[in-house]
């Protein structure tokens, strides 16, 4: 009986959270929604581990829904590209759900807990769908489910600050425009090829190897739509407000995973499906994505320096970090894609850890965390503060943290491509990251106030420290991340070499 269960593992990792989400939506109890979510996500992690094991043997799993063979039916695909991301996703959502309980209790109304966890699981299920799907229209559906769930979660922050409603509304409008752009692109692709399945699309597109205007228009629509969703500069304007006014637990989930899953799909579309149009890729990557990434790195870092609100500071730093990932992708070769995936993994951990620590400060301080409000927190709440310090040092890219590995691989990739000026620019922007992070450290440890240590809640700092320790572990022993990223790059560059 259990084998039957395991055969459907690719579908279950998406379907289980969605079903549980419907069940817990109207639970009045404060604790049961959380317990059910935790049970579901433990199963989720077990299923993901099983999938990884399967993939390491069979190299590729294609799950056909309703046994409709692709290209007719919808299918999920797990291969070298997304197996690493799946395991990161699964473990991170488990940790952040564990962390979220006390945070939700403090930040939203008690009777809303069931609804909040219902939306939480909805977001998790649909984001996982983005990772696994092999059908370009199915992706749109998952994109929209995840966007609607995240928007509702963000608007839950309205109890603390009514600006959350405006942030959610802007995200809704801008996100819907992005998703609709993506659908227009899908329409063009379907009109030209008659297929929506990604593997079949690769085959069908090869009959237009010269390239046709309609295909290029469709590709551009799809890529721009995804750029909106992934908050790639200059289409990022919805992100800072959305992340900073959302309840802290929600910011953690969104900042760590939402944009990363879409960036993964962006890379997959670029290097797996559109790879035969080399001229188009050169124009898009070298003349559009590359300059935009460099600008994003600088603008994001510079605006972050001038922020007083710490969640907003972290949100702007996210834009810069997304810039590093797209900069790596724009190099269009094995080293670049590897480095992009390494940073997707590492940045998910780093931003997750940072938002978790700041979220804890937010409920301790019972207001928005600004630079002046965290004076002396390094002495007052030493356990959480120290975790924040390590995550922050990793964000800058200090040795012995996983952020260093990211930077190392990015420099290496740029060096192989003989891009010496971008190397200098990335180095300068890392130095600028020290500036905004130092502002936090200065307030926490070097202000004139030195309060006595206070008791901290173990159920909150425990998950924070799991993330922090994994940051240090992956900084010293980075081969799991490197292996998964190299595997992803291997799969994606197969098309490039043809």
């Amino acid at each position: 009986m259990f084998d039957l269960f395991l055969d459907d593992a690719p579908a279950l990792v998406v379907v289980l959270p969605l079903i549980a989400s419907a069940i817990i939506a109207f639970m009045p109890s404060k604790i049961w929604p959380w317990i059910i979510s935790m049970i579901v996500l433990v199963f989720h992690l077990a299923l993901s581990l099983h999938l990884i094991e399967e993939v390491s043997i069979s190299k590729i799993i294609i799950y056909e829904f309703g046994n409709w063979e692709p290209p007719w039916g919808i299918s999920f695909k797990i291969d070298g590209v997304n197996s690493g991301l799946q395991i990161l996703f699964s473990s991170f959502v488990l940790i952040s759900t564990f962390y979220s309980r006390k945070i939700f209790l403090n930040e939203i109304e008690a009777e809303d807990t069931g609804k909040a966890y219902s939306l939480w699981l909805l977001a998790i299920g649909s984001l996982n769908g983005i990772i696994l799907t092999n059908d370009i229209f199915n992706l749109f559906v998952f994109l929209e489910i995840s966007a609607l769930a995240s928007i509702s979660l963000i608007s839950l922050g309205a109890g603390l600050n009514r600006k959350a409603l405006l942030a959610a509304f802007n995200y809704l409008i801008i996100g819907a425009i992005g998703a609709t752009f993506y659908v227009i692109g899908v329409g063009f692709a379907y009109a030209m090829t008659g297929t929506l399945n990604m593997n079949d699309l690769i085959i069908q597109l090869s009959q237009y190897s010269e390239g046709q205007l309609a295909i290029f228009a469709g590709m551009s629509f799809m890529l721009i739509g995804l750029m909106v969703k992934a908050a790639i500069f200059p289409l990022h304007i919805w992100l800072p407000a959305a992340y900073s006014y959302a309840p802290s637990a929600v910011s953690t989930l969104l900042a760590a995973l939402a944009t990363k899953t879409i960036l993964y799909f962006f890379a997959r579309l670029l290097f797996e499906v559109f790879t035969i149009y080399e001229n188009y890729l050169i124009i898009f990557l070298d003349f559009i994505l590359f300059p935009l990434s460099v600008i994003a790195i600088f603008i994001g870092t510079l605006i972050a320096i001038y922020q007083d609100d710490i969640k907003k500071l972290l949100a702007f730093s996210s834009i810069a970090q997304i810039g590093y990932i797209t900069l790596a992708f724009s190099l269009r070769d094995h080293s670049g894609i590897t480095s992009g995936f390494v940073h997707i993994f590492n940045h998910a951990l780093i931003k997750g850890g940072l938002f978790m620590s700041v979220g804890y400060f937010a409920i301790l301080y019972k207001d928005r965390v600004t630079l002046s409000s965290i004076k002396g927190f390094g002495y007052k709440y030493p356990i959480t503060s120290f975790a924040l310090l390590i995550c922050g040092l990793s964000l800058i890219g200090l040795p012995l943290t996983n952020g260093f590995i990211s930077k190392l691989y990015l420099f290496q990739a740029l060096y192989i491509n003989q891009m010496y000026i971008p190397i200098a620019l990335v180095a300068v922007s890392s130095a600028l990251a020290v500036v905004y992070f130092w502002k936090i450290v200065e307030q926490m440890w070097f202000s004139d106030i030195k309060p006595k240590p206070e008791k901290e809640d173990p159920s909150i700092y425990f998950p924070i420290w799991i993330i922090t320790i994994s940051i240090i572990l992956f900084g010293m022993y980075s081969s799991p991340i490197i292996e998964f990223s190299t595997l992803s790059a291997d799969y994606l560059t197969q098309g490039l070499q043809k």
Partner: protein, 120 residues
């Protein structure tokens, strides 16, 4: 000119789509933005459905007398997209309602002024 007549559905789609985008960008009223978004999305639905038309084709029902059918797949896709669109509009309207309850207005300029005042 021939192209224009042959591809008139594309022109209609672009006209509708640009109209919708124009409303979203220019209107200050949040409710109007939602309406603009709905028009924008509907334009894309029209585009998909018109792609499916096969000349002289009928509805895809299996009978002996007919052999030319329109492509049913885009219709099915758009059925899904319409549901997504309805959910987006519904959530948008719910947010507008909450914004009205919290700010007492749904005009973008007035809300900006209110926020500027509260920041001071």
């Amino acid at each position: 000119m021939n192209n224009f007549i042959y591809f008139w559905n594309h022109f209609a789609f672009i006209l509708l789509m640009m109209g919708g985008l124009f409303i979203i960008i220019t209107s200050q009223n949040y409710l109007k933005k939602i309406v603009g978004l709905a028009i924008f999305q509907t334009a894309v639905f029209v585009f998909f459905v018109s792609l499916a038309k096969v000349l002289d084709g009928t509805a895809p029902i299996l009978t002996k007398s007919l052999s030319v059918y329109s492509n049913p797949l885009p219709h099915v896709l758009i059925l899904t997209a319409i549901v997504v669109g309805v959910a987006t509009s519904a959530l948008g309207l719910a947010l507008v309602l909450q914004i009205y309850k919290n700010y007492g207005t749904i005009e973008e300029k007035e809300i900006e002024n209110l926020e500027l005042k509260s920041d001071k």
